[in-house]
């Protein structure tokens, strides 16, 4: 049998190939390239093998940043997901208040990130800020520029304010899409509100919640702008997260090699954790 060869189809793949190459592969490979070389300027590079990676893993400072990052993300997820779900459950399903609630919820998401940082920076100032003064007036000593606990409290509060809405909107969309018949069926069975939540709403929200957790995990793990504006990573390095550490290394020290190795490890952590999350949550779906 004669087989006709027609390779024209490759031309159709070319645009996608180019786009992927330029927006993902080329930049990534540049970073990989830096991560295994040493440079002293003059555009001269020397092979350095895995030395930057070894240094990175031995670096106490980076380990501390990673630890802070994990704690921050965990805290933020444990607050935002249940809180967002609760708010979504409390929101009205029909009537004029729906649009009011949706707009109120969407507002924090529309504020530019550095503005969020400045807003909370000013608001939490102990002498002139609304929040800072109020807390101090209640007799609690609060100064986020000096006290690490206060700084953490402010950073977490800011992130909750900024991003819980995303969880709310995702969950709300999931809730609205549950047909009324489910609630009626549960009502006929005499199911209590808790059972309705446990056996209807939660399973129906599974996919939406997975997406919400993934998005919030990735975003909070990469947090930079808001924190750098609010605390600059301080006091000391109390709120110095991975991205802040990375920027200080890459731009401040201009250590291209270590910064590139750092970027790759950072990227892999996020990729692996996201994959793990997703696989675990979708585990039952497969069989």
């Amino acid at each position: 049998m004669n087989k006709t060869f027609n390779n024209k189809a490759w031309w159709m793949v070319l645009p996608v190939f180019l786009v992927v190459a330029f927006n993902a592969l080329v930049p990534l490979m540049t970073v990989v390239n830096y991560s295994v070389q040493e440079t002293f300027g003059n555009n001269e590079f020397f092979w350095s093998g895995t030395i930057w990676f070894q240094q990175l893993l031995d670096n106490d400072q980076i380990r501390a940043s990673l630890g802070r990052q994990i704690i921050f993300t965990t805290v933020v997820l444990f607050i935002q997901v249940p809180l967002g779900l609760t708010i979504a459950l409390c929101m009205p399903r029909k009537g004029p208040w729906v649009s009011v609630c949706l707009v109120l919820m969407a507002l924090p998401l529309l504020v530019p990130w550095n503005v969020v940082g400045s807003m909370w920076n000013i608001m939490a100032l102990p002498d002139i800020g609304l929040l800072g003064r109020t807390i101090n007036a209640m007799g609690i000593h609060y100064n986020y520029t000096r006290d690490p606990v206060a700084a953490w409290f402010t950073v977490v509060l800011m992130d909750v304010w900024h991003w819980t809405s995303l969880v709310v909107l995702l969950c709300y969309a999931g809730l609205v899409s549950i047909p009324d018949a489910y609630y009626q069926a549960a009502k006929i069975d005499g199911a209590r509100p808790w059972a309705v939540f446990r056996y209807i709403q939660l399973p129906k929200l599974k996919h939406v919640l997975t997406i919400a957790i993934l998005l919030r995990f990735m975003d909070s793990f990469m947090i930079y702008t808001e924190v750098i504006v609010l605390t600059g990573g301080g006091p000391g390095s109390a709120t110095k997260f991975l991205s802040i550490d990375l920027v200080q290394k890459a731009l401040g020290g201009f250590d291209l090699g270590p910064a590139a190795a750092f970027s790759i490890v950072y990227f892999l952590i996020i990729l692996l954790t996201s994959w793990l999350f997703y696989t675990l949550m979708m585990r039952n779906e497969a069989n």
Binding site: P179, A181, Y182, Q184, A185, K187, I188, D189, G190, A191, Y199, I200, L202, P203, K204
Partner: protein, 355 residues
């Protein structure tokens, strides 16, 4: 031992979903609610079940006013058009769910679920989750939930609408058997007239929130009390024509057609009427039954296996003929059909059946 609706109506905002309605349903009866989408079938069911409260009127069940008794204390079951099951629970637990709240003993639950599963051929699937079942099995699970407890009222809201053809036929055969011999009033909502004819029993025709007729199914089909009922209960749509009766002649308003008046309508006073003639009384061949001819241009022909449906244009109005056998017609050609005029239903100007 009945369910009684006394002047029940339902208004939502400015819309009347159900107009003033009084009805009595017998115990152990199978009642079909027939009407187009948005005719009010679901609302009427939800009112009777107690999921919605009527705006006016009262609902009595077995001699007691239950208007304000919430649905969970009324002992009802409901099956929906969508396949509604608890996604996380196994088929067994799904079927058992209505029994769980009653605090029934585990052995009794097991035997009841086992019986329901057997009737609906779900026994091999009891350990599976609803998502792992086919559409037909999911709906059978929902139906099993409805029959597992001894409900007083069972509501089936277009339960077969989302199933494919074969499964629909299958369940259609099974359903009446399932629900006969239960000490319950069963309601079955559907948009399809032939489904109602298949189930027989009693039918309630609905149109725009009003009950147009309620009675034995065959009787309503043969003698609808109004033009509206006739329209609701015919598929393909009943032929409706304006006519003038003059002595022994019947002059159609269109196409210069005139027919002899059949014996049944001879006593009617002369004047204008609307006649309704089911498509299967308009046939392609002349016979001893037919007495009126009808010529027109063929618009559409649908031949499905053993049946032919032909639409013809008679002086600007469409007539539909439905006959057994394959009767090919070319679209555009002129054809003559023969009507069994004695089967024509006569309606007065207000749309009421007069003969």
């Amino acid at each position: 031992m009945t369910l009684e609706l006394k002047n029940v109506s339902k208004r939502v905002g400015a819309d009347m979903h159900i107009h003033d309605t009084s009805l009595v349903f017998d115990d152990n009866s199978f009642n079909i609610l027939l009407g187009a989408t948005r005719a009010g079938k679901t609302t009427l069911m939800q009112l009777m079940a107690g999921i919605q409260k009527p705006t006016t009127g009262a609902i009595w069940h077995r001699g007691k006013d239950v208007t304000h008794v919430p649905v969970q204390r009324r002992n009802v079951s409901m099956v929906y058009q969508q396949f509604i099951n608890y996604p996380m629970l196994s088929v067994f637990e799904n079927i058992a769910s209505p029994l769980r709240v009653t605090g029934m003993a585990e052995s009794e639950v097991k035997s009841r679920v086992g019986r329901a599963a057997e009737i609906l051929r779900l026994t091999p699937m009891l350990d599976r989750k609803p998502a792992e079942l086919s559409g037909g099995q999911q709906q059978r699970t929902a139906i099993a939930r409805a029959i597992v407890k001894d409900s007083d009222l069972i509501f089936l809201d277009e339960p077969l609408a989302n199933l494919d053809y074969k499964l629909r036929e299958e369940l259609r055969d099974e359903l009446p058997k399932l629900f006969s011999g239960r000490n319950a009033i069963v309601f079955y909502a559907t948009t399809e007239p032939h489904e109602a004819l298949l189930f027989g029993n009693k039918t309630l025709t609905m149109h725009q929130g009003r009950i147009t007729q309620f009675g034995p199914t065959a009787e309503i089909y043969r003698k609808p009390n109004s033009l509206t009922s006739a329209r609701v209960f015919s598929d393909p749509p009943i032929n409706i024509a304006r006519v003038t009766k003059k002595g022994k002649k019947l002059q159609l308003s269109h196409g210069n057609v005139s027919w002899p008046v059949a014996a049944g309508a001879a006593k009617l006073p002369d004047g204008d009427y609307s006649i309704g003639l089911q498509p299967h009384y308009v046939l392609p061949q002349k016979s001893s039954q037919t007495s009126g001819a009808l010529s027109g241009r063929v618009l559409v022909t649908e031949i499905s296996g053993s049946e032919s449906v032909v639409h013809i244009d008679v002086g600007g109005q469409t007539w539909v003929s439905q006959s057994h056998g394959v009767h090919p017609h070319q679209v555009g050609e002129t054809a003559t059909f023969h009507a069994d005029v004695s089967r024509a239903l006569f309606f007065d100007a207000a749309g009421k059946l007069v003969s």
